[in-house]
Amino acid sequence: MNAVLQPVENDTLAPATRGVGSLVEAILDDPEALVYFLLNVGDGDTQLLLLPPDSNDGVRRLAIIDVATSTKLPDLIEKLHEVEVSAGGGDRTLIQQPGSPGQIRMVVATHPHFDHIGGMGELLSKYNGLHNRRTAPTTDGNGPTGDVLSEADKLTPYASDACIDQFWEPGYFFPSASFHAMMAELEVSPWIRRLQPTSGTTAYLDSVKVTVMGPGVGLRSRFDTYGVEVNDSSLTLMFEYPASRIYTETDTDEADRLNRRAVKKRSRRLLLGGDAQFTSWAQATIDFPDLRNEQNPVLARELQAARGRDYLASDVFKMSHHASKHGINLELLERVDAKYLLVSSTGGGGRYNFPHALAMDAARESRQATTTSDAARLTDHELGIHVTGAVLDDDQGSPTGSMAVMVPRRPSRAIRIFRLMDGAKEMIDLEKSREVKT
């Protein structure tokens, strides 16, 4: 544990519950919630979004952002599949069998560093291997061979029953083995829709809206010269849930007619910062003008009236680059103004000693300005700052580990955060989850 982090006080976490664990209980209690997982993989990123039930078929699907290691995420997905849900008088599982058609709406490789794509080739291989058009069954009945394209595949390479629907990456090529492995898998998966988005690109995953905040076009068009630091090629993504608040109501004159009404309640936002550094964020502040401090106050007012909230404002911010001193600054943090700041890093040590004191101080100052007031600094728990590598203040220094953030659809319900108590090299045991007290 580095000096920048204080151990997490045990009593700031609710005790683990018996049975399925407090996280699963909470998911079952609020079946409409979006759940964001930030896995403890040391200085690296592996993130999973358990999407809300799809409005078309009620199925929960997944979005994956970065895969640093090869086993932890697939293991979590298997465990989510084992969760039983009672709904409509019948039993089913929280998510479908891993590998089911269309199960993974999108996979994002934010940028081609090993600590973000080290497990990507294997993940693509694993879920592509489950694609029933990918492989032909062997004649001896021992299942797919894994290396022969089926006749159906040859006829319809864009068949839509693949497990992975879309793959996003910034379009920055990098000479590492992990990058080659990722590209080799994508080359033989023409059914996965590919996108190299830049800022402003928007996609809708049913009730969840995704907006790319970076890199800006100005950075993207400089990639080929290698004039852009790899970290600044990071796809930074804003997830917004619900994407809109449009509700139906029965027409007062005709009972079988519905009208649609827009409800003015703020959506919740998650800003996932990849490893973006100053150059990328600087570009983002140009692409997405500050609605409060824009130099043209008339324009700012008009934009604010049209947009509502500031473009960068979010409720939860996964801080860039494991809270290195180059990934973040106070101005950006103040603009994002997130109630919860999450950091994916070791609790100190490693080659870079992340999280860095400067970044953590900026995070704390953005949540509680003490420099001029001289007020006593609140604890990280009180400030809503959580680090995957932080440990408990118990005798063993137990890991607090991965995080799960529950984002409810209903505005009356609060965002809830759970710690999954796993070490960086341990698999997640959902039963051990403990809720962060608020």
């Binding site: 970290n231 080659r351 870079y352």
Partner: protein
């Protein structure tokens, strides 16, 4: 139609032999067994993280591939960026700062200096033998991997003229020089900045 995926290099897959290393290594066996593929993975402040993988093979479709367990055999080393400039880049007229994506072919038969988070004090500890700058070839290979995975790869049987021009261009490229890791007692540290 994409080529079928192979889970790992076939026994007969030749090692990748970039143009810049022609003449530098005598046999495919030595290249495979003794050489490592070293990439500047990340530069954070004044620290450079190097990652080394086993030497890649070239599959029958012209792609670089590593054995399935390559991720288990990857090792990293950390070096001050300043040391990289003073001991490796400047003495060999590499007129650039170390940057992510720079790639070296290095003969490494031992692990000394690798696998630790402590920055090395002398680059000779991690590059004790021959080391070549293969960045241009490695970047081209990455670009080919990226573009080949993103768009159609055409059959060259009816494009001999285009291919011939490309081959001639390739022959004109300078061969990689063996880099000299300057001994510390020869280094003149006249740089003011410590980054």
């Amino acid at each position: 139609m994409p080529p079928p995926r192979k889970s790992q290099p076939e026994e007969t897959s030749p090692p990748w032999w970039p143009a810049s290393l022609e003449g530098a290594v005598r046999s495919a066996q030595k290249l495979r067994e003794q050489w490592q593929y070293v990439v500047v993975e990340e530069v954070v402040g004044g620290i450079v993280e190097l990652m080394r993988w086993p030497w890649p093979s070239a599959d029958r479709y012209g792609r670089l591939i590593w054995e399935d367990d390559a991720n288990n055999r990857v090792m990293s080393a950390v070096a001050p960026q300043r040391l990289m400039r003073l001991q490796l880049y400047r003495p060999n007229n590499l007129e650039r700062r170390p940057r992510a994506g720079d790639t070296f072919g290095a003969r490494l038969t031992a692990d000394a200096g690798w696998g630790t988070d402590t920055p090395v004090a002398d680059l000779a500890a991690i590059f004790p033998a021959a080391v070549y700058d293969i960045s241009a070839d490695a970047r081209e290979a990455a670009k080919l991997a990226y573009q080949g995975a993103s768009a159609a790869v055409f059959n060259g049987d009816d494009a001999e003229g285009l291919l011939d021009a490309a081959r001639r261009q390739r022959l004109k490229r300078p061969k990689a020089k063996r880099l000299r890791v300057a001994p510390l007692d020869e280094v003149i540290d006249d740089e003011d900045d410590l980054a």
